[in-house]
Symmetry: C2
Subunit: 499 residues, 2 copies
């Protein structure tokens, strides 16, 4: 037996593998909790999950890891191994930067805040929410401070970095500033143009089984592999499970069949990313997808770039009529109008792709200032409503459940995630522009239900790289240039203002 030349690196891989397998168990149990678990089991399940999660934290913060990481760094590694070492260090840094007592306290306060929020949002109870939220913000600031020290960046930078390695506030501010300049004008132009457009609403009810069959047919056409994943129902759609066993969920509304279908297409985009990760890297950190904006771009690529395109809707329309029955609202032209309808509204998750950026910009402004200590939690409602008026011309007043209480993110103590939704749309626009350049007959293919050209491009240029490159490198390798927010503007102009 010869001694391996990289003993520390190999031991690190062995540990990563163990962590991954525990992740697998946690992922499936979380999915089960949301889809299958009978209600009386929730207490025991929470205990079991807490046990596994604390065990994972224990493993990830083992002091021996610091030594291993340093030793592996001195070994002679190839570029892929080096990337894996970098990603392993990232996981370790995030697990160890925050003192365990602070992390635990933050997690408890966040759970309490989120739990109370579930009711408070329906009662528009901002003062009640504030009671839990103020101490939570304080704890998140301290946690962000610890991460900021470890990374040697600002507090909000540190939170952005959690979701998107290397992303800094200066960049987010530049990118969102670009959109801020042209968005209100563009919304106005499109609204003006759509004013006289007829648009029939589908008349339900639509059987849930038929909606499910339709969803599955569309997923299959997009390349979802039902030998490596499932589709089930949960109250909030998500893409769960593990990379090799993807548990996608959706929800169906009896009277709004397009909502469930849209959610399914979105989650299928997330799922295909996992299905396209290289098998050989599966259990290592470098084999994970890029989370944050890159992941969101995979979902938005399918949901918006592809799913709202007239070519896709022309392919979809007969399939939809076949499953849900004929009616005037399902005429192809009307479906295009329905899917492409632009209308300012209070709720982010219901927003169309044109007004959606406004929802992100508003949240970014507030959460950045909150984390940096420029404003306090009490200041949120006034700022929220003012920004809604300025960006979309509407004001939720004291109906906080339709305003600053609508999202789960802040109630869970999750800050720095919102910009990823808009950056994801920018990335998706850039991928789509690249594919169009490479494939002059893209539209004909899509209309014929041949989506391989889109999916294969994503597999080839994004999925197979997993976490080998950081997002800046990845966008250059995939599209040949740095992220350019003007692709999003060009896309919206072309789709909504050209003829």
């Amino acid at each position: 037996m010869t001694l391996s030349p990289t003993p520390a690196y190999l031991e690190l891989c062995r540990r990563n593998q163990r962590h991954y397998r525990l992740h697998h168990a946690i992922g499936i149990l979380h999915w089960d909790s949301a889809t299958m678990m009978p209600p009386r089991a929730s207490g025991a399940r929470a205990d079991a999950l807490a046990e596994l999660e604390s065990l994972l934290r224990e493993w990830q913060t083992d002091p021996a890891l610091a030594t291993l990481l340093a030793q592996a760094d001195a070994e002679s590694l190839d570029p892929l191994q080096r990337a894996n070492l970098r990603e392993s260090r990232r996981v370790w840094l995030r697990a160890t930067a925050v003192p365990p007592a602070l992390a635990t306290q933050r997690s408890l306060v966040a759970m309490r805040c989120e739990h109370a929020w579930r009711e408070q949002r329906h009662r528009h109870d901002w003062p009640g929410f504030l009671e839990n939220f103020k101490p939570l913000v304080e704890l998140v600031r301290r946690e962000a401070g610890c991460l900021a020290d470890a990374l040697d960046v600002g507090r909000y930078d540190a939170l952005l970095d959690m979701h998107e390695p290397g992303l800094r506030d200066s960049e987010v501010s530049r990118l969102l500033g670009h959109v801020r300049n042209w968005l209100p004008g563009l919304i106005g132009q499109i609204r003006e143009r759509q004013r006289s457009q007829p648009c029939l609403i589908p008349q339900g009810p639509f059987a849930l089984a038929a909606q499910r069959d339709l969803s599955e047919a569309v997923m299959r056409a997009l390349g979802f592999d039902f030998q490596a994943g499932r589709l089930d129902v949960s109250s909030h759609p998500f893409c769960g499970g593990t990379f090799e066993d993807i548990r996608l969920t959706t929800r169906y509304s009896e009277y709004d069949p397009l909502a469930g279908l849209t959610a399914t297409i979105h989650e299928t985009g997330h799922a295909l990313y996992h299905m396209g990760l290289p098998e050989s890297l599966r259990e290592q950190p470098v084999g994970a997808p890029r989370w944050g904006a890159i992941h969101e771009s995979q979902a938005l690529m399918l949901e918006k770039q592809l799913g709202l395109s007239p070519a896709f809707i022309r392919w979809l329309a007969p399939l939809l009529r076949q499953h849900l029955g004929e009616q005037p609202a399902f005429a192809t032209d009307n479906l295009i109008h329905l899917f492409q309808r632009v209308e300012p509204g209070f709720i982010r998750v219901d927003a169309d792709e044109v007004t959606y950026p406004a929802h992100v910009i508003l949240r970014y402004d507030i959460e950045r200032a909150l984390i940096e200590g420029e404003i306090e939690a009490e200041d949120i409602p006034v700022r929220w409503n003012a920004a809604m008026r300025e960006l979309l011309g509407i004001d939720p007043g004291e109906l906080y459940g339709q305003g600053c209480l609508q999202d789960m993110h802040w109630a869970c103590g999750m800050f720095g995630y919102f910009p990823g939704y808009l950056l994801g749309a920018m990335y998706a626009a850039q991928w789509a522009a690249r594919i169009r350049r490479e494939q002059p007959d893209l539209e004909q293919q899509v209309e014929a239900g041949e989506f391989g050209v889109v999916i294969d491009w994503l597999r080839q240029h994004i999925h197979r790289h997993a976490s080998r490159y950081d997002s800046n490198e990845l966008v250059r390798i995939a599209s040949g240039e740095a992220l350019d927010p003007d692709y999003l503007r060009q896309h919206l102009m072309a789709r909504y203002l050209d003829d």
Copy 2:
């Protein structure tokens, strides 16, 4: 803060709790593998389960546990705590008695043997099976030897003890000897009597959804709590999940609707045991059910004692017709004949309650002699076929898949479990006799669909005790006397020979 007077015992409980929570995760993942998991995930799932199971073994064999058990023994404990200490020691003893290298090797060889057996039984390939089975038997003998040393009993005793604490071969031999004396004669008498009995076979197909609804209705009537469990489909019915989240599975056959229903009722008996365990002991070894014969008795109580009784079938018949449609075979009298049909056959799991004991006796004779080294694996087929001729008057010849290759138990290296099936039937007969004595109007209640009197008796006298008493104490506490195999004979005589 005052120091607890039982620090070692409390630390032991804390560790038991951790083990239990890991068990919860393992239980749900196993259920998911059999019911929900897409096929391509099986490799990753096996890895994740192996990781969790090796972690559990690591925890259970932690040398600190030996010290804790000794220290707790010297603390002042109440009787329930003492029972919990006894059960904790039992778990520890079983985990530590076998050297890890031997346990691992046995587990690998067993997996290989079982995997090959899945095909070999269909090809009746006894020589092929023998290649894997001979080394497996050798390893099981060594493992049993280690357990026997730790318990200071014989090798086969040690295997019996794994499933039923305190059960010894001398007792099994006595109990099965009792049945051996009267069984062949009884089978002959019943067969003679049923010879002229008309019996129509149901004419399918029967929709699986209707069978599922019928199963659920029967489960509900028997007291299964769908807020604390589920019913799903798997190729082999089982009662999985965890005590607080019971995942029961069944299978439906389009042409044999009684098979799926019978399996469901059997598994519901197992499930009700778990549902009746005391919440306060949930995470401790003393809070577990008694496995082996006691557990089997809960299933057989519902499936055979209750489920094959004319009163139950009179209640079931209209419900069955309502779900599956009217036909001559579903006339109440014919259903009674169908359910109570006695016919010697090759396959244990298809056997009626009268010929079933013969299948157990035959396996017991062979596996006991095999473990004790009185025979070798090569001797099995000849012995098997001879015993089949002697006990049931039929001979599978060289169709080993219908003979000694039919069960998974031996192929998995599981010995000492078979007697529990017959002891379970004896226990069930004893419970039923006791309930009949206490409830003179039992039949009327059952016919009216009021099963509370049966289920409540089981809850009160069996379920709520969990593992507080060993099986001998439990049977005395529950029924007022020691296990008496004559109850089974009396039950079969009354059901099949009285008028």
